[in-house]
Amino acid sequence: MTRPPRAAAWLLERVLPRGARDAAIGDLNEEFAAVVRDAGSAPARRWYWIQTFSLIRAFAAEGRPRPAALGEISVRPGGDTMTQDLRYALRALRRSPAFTLIAIAVLAIGIGATSAIFSFVDGVLLRPLPYREPDRIVFLWERPPGGSRNVISTLNYLDWQQQNQVFESISAGTSASMTMAANGEVSQVRASRVSAGYFRVYGVATTLGRAFSPGEDQPGKNNVVVLSYRFWQQRFGGDPGIVGRTIALDREPCVVIGVLPAGSPFDRGSSQLWRPLAFGPGELTRDYHWLRAIARLKPGITLEAARANMDAIAARISRDYPASNKDWGITIDRLPDVLVDPTLRRSLEVLLAGVGLLLVLGCTNLANLALARGTAREREVVVCAALGASRGRIVRQFLTESVLLSAAGGALGLASGYMMMRGLQLLLPSYYLPREAVIAMDWRAFAFAAGLAIGTGLLFGLAPAFHAGRVDLAGSMRASSRTATADRSRRRLRDVLVIAEIAVSCLLLAGATLLVRSFLQMRGVDVARDPDRLLTAGLLTPDSRFSHPDQARAFFRTVLERVQGIPGVTAAALTAGLPLEGWPDGMPLRFAESNARGGAGFKSISPSYFNTLGLPLLRGRGLTDQDRKGTTPVIVVNDAFAKRYFENQDPLGKHVLIQEIVPGQRRLGPEIPWQIVGVVANERTNGLSPQGSRGVYSSIEQTPMYGLSLVLRASGDPSFLVAPLKAAIHEIDPEQPVTDIRTVAAIKDEFVAPDRLRTWLFGVFSAIALLLAAVGIYGVMSYSVAQRTHEIGVRAALGASRGRIVGLVIRHAALLTGVGLAIGMAAAIAATRWMTALLFGVQPRDPVSLGVAALLLATVSLVAAYVPARRAARIDPIHALRVD
């Protein structure tokens, strides 16, 4: 049965007078039942709400006192003073619409921006994780000698699984791209292969069907698949009969057994479907590291106990299999500790601090405006006081006004904040936030915005309120109040507020210039020569596609030949990994001559790779077409590698022992003595830093791979190459997918997208801050000039030149600016250290950035002061002295 809306009933319960309440609500409930019967439940609920408001409005109007005249504020003691305050405040605000509009706009922007950033902070840092008892979920890694975290080999994982006594469930996994055939359509999907216990570790149940049963991760039993809710909706239109249907994944038929819940983290992660991970005979190795593992601690097991248990297991493995596991350990991280990347955490903190400062600045500005308005309203206050209003009453009246303003600002702010939040979500790359983060404006953001609204109302209302309360009755009643003492202290207070504004703006501006400088440095980094002429594309191939490496060699040789023949292509290369996408493999290695051990990234490329990218060869030779199967195995090392391992020697001709990477299989072959033939400049593999990470390159002829990417250099606009490229590939193999077609410049853009967004946001914050500071200075100077018209007139009459009068005003502004800048700079120097993790190529105390910030602020505030100064200089002494 449909029940009346609870919130409406709750409201009625509180608003209606006791005598009428029960009968009225009862009648409403009774009629509601009839409306539900006649019109359905949604219209009935709407009807209930309409009736509720009708009742509330009528009873509220009945209880309301007659309209209060201005004098009644204190003349009528007792009564509903709250309502009086509100009504009087409304009337006062309506009388100065410009002030009201500006105040509401400033508050709406400030509260909106703060709530928007807060929704991200809340979603990423504060909200509890959407899993059952997330504190019990851990990530497991192998710990290589000299390292801390590494992916796991199959046999090691299986040992952990069998020997541990601390995990309730444990799961290994790996992600892969699969081809899916369903509904007569073939497409690429992002999939994960995971152990049967995967969803048990997270404590997530399916919404349709079931998750994997124990044992389904054994070979022959793993032809089942679980879909994410979103994928089920998008690809199968939410077909309710999906469970039990068969789809083909990499040409193997799989039965859909379950769908995960809507809105779960699995809807936001990269994988769209999950298959049980059954290890094939070729994958049962100990030296090939490729798995990620998660586990759920048994109840009551501490992290320390788990570590002790796993350390013992690692020691045993290391003792039993020294060839592959000597000195390898196990690292355990609690999920909540590692979920949020420290840079993201710091970004959010810095942005929240920035936007919070902006809000404070907005409030300061409003306080300043309200103070100026307070002068104009002095007479009004005096009348109230004369009619007997107490000081507390007047203070409360002023506070009511500002809280009313900020309530309106808060309501609008919530709306604008929602839009800003959606906008930011669109601008952020999807992988940037952890999949567990739910970004939403719900009651938490609402409570936050409401708290801000009340807080800001009090913040900017207090100063004017206390000034109003301290008004000098006798002084103000005189026709001329120019000399009133309240006036002087109000002016002093406004000076202090302007200094605060300048200091806060200075802090924000310093942060922004640092981020902008850092971003410019990033933008200046060239990942490759002319990166916008370099087109890349992925040629994904399932492991099962080639039965022998020679087939892959032949296929990719043909691909390269065809692609090089496309008109407009000046160079083309194949690579196992594109710039900024990391090293495809990380390999332990040994030096034949010194027997020293080490490690480096490993990338298979076609010999044309360096030339296509524009990576200069520093020494020796590059790879050539003569380096093929059967000839001496050779590698080119990068500069970082040469510097690390051959500091004062010539690396050329030296031999490095690295195990063979066997394509399409989860195992390593025997050690190969690779001869170093050249040194190449550092490619930007893992980041933009020129230091690079050490790595080596081998020819795809000597280290064949099944999945490679293409890089083409275009003589003109690379977008014209997309269609011919696809055509060329499909001519060789119509079923070969060509994915992720984009330029190297685009790869870099995506890489720096979070930095760009952060810089933009902070830049916008500080631009608004600059504007607010300028308005503040302008307001104070104009006010002071208006107040001193008489005095300036006297000075002019006594012969002061225009220049001197301008100087008089500017000096005042310069003093305020100077003090504000000094405080702001000290704060900036103390605070920007906190941003170090976000800066690239710039020191947190970078004198250029801080200098630019100070100069900009000084210029803007002096320009803002110049306008009123000019006005002062034009004061006509005769006119000025004639006023009263």
Partner: protein, 113 residues
């Protein structure tokens, strides 16, 4: 406080409500009264206005009320039944008579409607 010597001692809406209570007879509780006004008056009135007026008439002593348990769908809240007290009835009569006298001899096209 209104003087009972006024030509129309009751407001228009008060008259409507009192008449509706009389029309509803023994079953004159909130919803029934609202229904009477709605049906006979030919238009719907705001629920809030009705309840506020009932409260006011009660406070002035023109109507009396008693509560009785209602059907379960009311969520345990009783029905409040109204009856018109003699004072209320007398004022209603006076108001209607005044209206009637004012109307005497005028056609106002009422016969056609």
């Amino acid at each position: 406080m209104k003087k009972t010597r006024a030509l129309l001692p009751l407001g228009e809406f008060e008259m409507l409500v009192l008449l509706a209570i009389l029309q509803a007879g023994d079953g004159a509780y909130g919803s029934a009264i609202l229904e009477q006004v709605h049906q006979r008056g030919g238009r719907s009135v705001a629920r809030g206005a009705l309840y506020v007026t009932l409260e006011r008439l009660d406070a002035k002593g023109y109507v009396a009320s008693r509560t009785e348990a209602g059907p379960p769908v009311r969520g345990g809240r009783p029905r409040r039944y109204y009856t018109v007290r003699p004072t209320g009835l007398a004022l209603l009569r006076r108001s209607l008579e005044a209206l009637g006298r004012m109307r005497e001899g005028l056609e106002l096209g009422l016969k056609h409607s």
